[in-house]
């Protein structure tokens, strides 16, 4: 290419560049609403909290409630189960988390977690599997008494949602 040719910037080049730039910004501004309309709407977001009465749950038993369309396990663990969950060395865990980090301190018997397998989203079965916790029938992930992944394709422990004790008998999830 000729050197003088390369250096010249014409009025037309400027018009092309600015037109393309403004066009691209305009196109993006039109596309974004079309993309974002697929995200959860206000009605979906409004279902963000659920209150659960836990007074009827005996030690060793668990209930499942629906929160944001997903099952949440509320398990009242026995002392033996808590001890067993805490006796595991962190080196043995694919996703190392202490049991203490997964419950509220002083409420150690209550395990509240999303009943959703972190592999591909199935609902694990309770009191099943090699670690006495949960077992996912879809692709064979085993979880322990703290809901931590021990064996199988799931990459992470079952998720702990944001929750709080409103009073002694009520848990608010979300």
């Amino acid at each position: 290419m000729d050197k003088s040719e390369k250096k010249t910037t014409t009025r037309r080049d400027f018009l092309f560049t600015t037109s393309y730039t403004v066009g691209a910004v305009g196109l993006g501004a039109v596309i974004w609403p079309l993309v974002d309309q697929m995200n959860p709407d206000k009605a979906q977001k409004a279902l963000a909290t659920t209150e659960v009465d836990i007074s009827q749950i005996e030690p060793g038993k668990s209930i499942t409630v629906l929160w944001r369309g997903k099952p949440v396990f509320l398990k009242r663990r026995t002392q033996e189960e808590i001890l067993e969950a805490r006796s595991v060395s962190l080196d043995e865990l694919p996703h190392p988390e202490k049991d203490e980090e997964r419950v509220k301190s002083g409420k150690d018997e209550w395990l509240v977690m999303l009943g959703v397998c972190t592999h591909l989203g199935c609902v694990p079965l309770s009191n099943k599997g090699d670690y006495k916790g949960w077992f996912c029938p879809c692709h064979g992930s085993h979880y322990d008494l703290s809901g931590r992944i021990r064996k199988g394709p799931a990459p992470k422990n079952m998720e702990i949602p944001k929750y709080e004790f409103v009073d002694a008998n009520t848990i608010k999830i979300g």
Binding site: M38, D41, R68, G69, L120, G121, H139, G140
Partner: protein
Amino acid sequence: MSEHEYVPKSKAGKWFNDRLPLLSLASHLTDYPTPKNLNYWWTFGGILTFCLLTQIITGIVLAMHYVAHADLAFASVEHIMRDVNYGWLIRYIHSNGASMFFLAVYIHIFRSLFYGSYKSPREIIWIIGLMIYLLMMAAAFMGYVLPWGQMSFWGATVITNLFSAIPLVGDSITTWLWGAYSVDNPTLTRFFSLHYLIPFLILGLVVLHIWALHIPGNNNPVGIDIKKPSKDTVPFHPYITIKDAFALLLFMIIFAGFVFFAPNVLGHSDNYIQANPMVTPAHIVPEWYLLPFYAILRSVPDKLGGVILMFSAIFILFVLPWLDTSKVRSAVFRPIYRQFFWILVVDVLVLGYVGAMPAEGIYLVLARVGTIYYFLHFIVILPVVGYLEKTEPVPLSISEPVLTGSAEYSMAKKDNEKI
């Protein structure tokens, strides 16, 4: 494209054709020179067109009665089955039609693999075909969600969760796909919208597929380039249309057999239980036509790795024309490739079988061996065999083997020429 300039006989026809050459197009399609040795494996293009149109027509009719809402969808499908006049027939044609569509497309794809139809100069036809295949899988998956049964719901959950394996943005993407925090009503309504759209995208791609086909013309069982038109070709109509029609008739008998005598044999009985987000069925399986890919997904003990491998299994087909290094197209003249072709067929069937079984014990071992072999075939065997294989002599024209009844003649002829 057209070998001779078409001029309509009537004055009105000429007037119209000068303004929009539809009559020239029709003439091109009827006269289109086709290799005279096409066997019945070449009739599946026409069969697939029939399948697509069947799905579109029955689908439009079903949409008149179906209600895309999480609370009403399941009941509306039962309403179609029990109350709508011939609703049972139309729905069974549509649901079994999906299976028939995939049966035909798999035969069509393996036909292409055997006779080397994906090779130069037909790479674009092959790639457009794969895009159609991907859209078919998307349409079939979303269609399976619409009845809102247990398999619908949990199949949708598992498949959409595949995207959560993407690092960093995975969870945002799945939430965006769902329009909720789990598979829910917004997911159902958007799947319905897209399920209605995709067949028309496929129809557009089919036009491109056929257009791209009509540039080089059909491949054929001996896989050689032919002059067209010549003594090696026959006009598409009536020679190919009548052969396609006969094959379609046989295909429709099998299709009707499923619709009338075993309409649910290819489905899963759990899908007659309404979707329940609290309980996962004990054994989740996709529809049969997705099982080989499901087996590959489950054969990897790592979430992201399994998802990557499953998608690679499909996307590797896009570069197939460049992985196969052999200059000879048809497996008829490739004694080594021919054997590997059949091993691949068996491998895919084995993967399909173990995909339907629990992912444990011998099934897991088989799935892993099958997965490794699948990739080995495309990445190692195809390029290497292309270089090392001593192919058999290829005839100079279609007329040679056809007239003499075998390929032996051309070899004998060549030997004579040497003397």
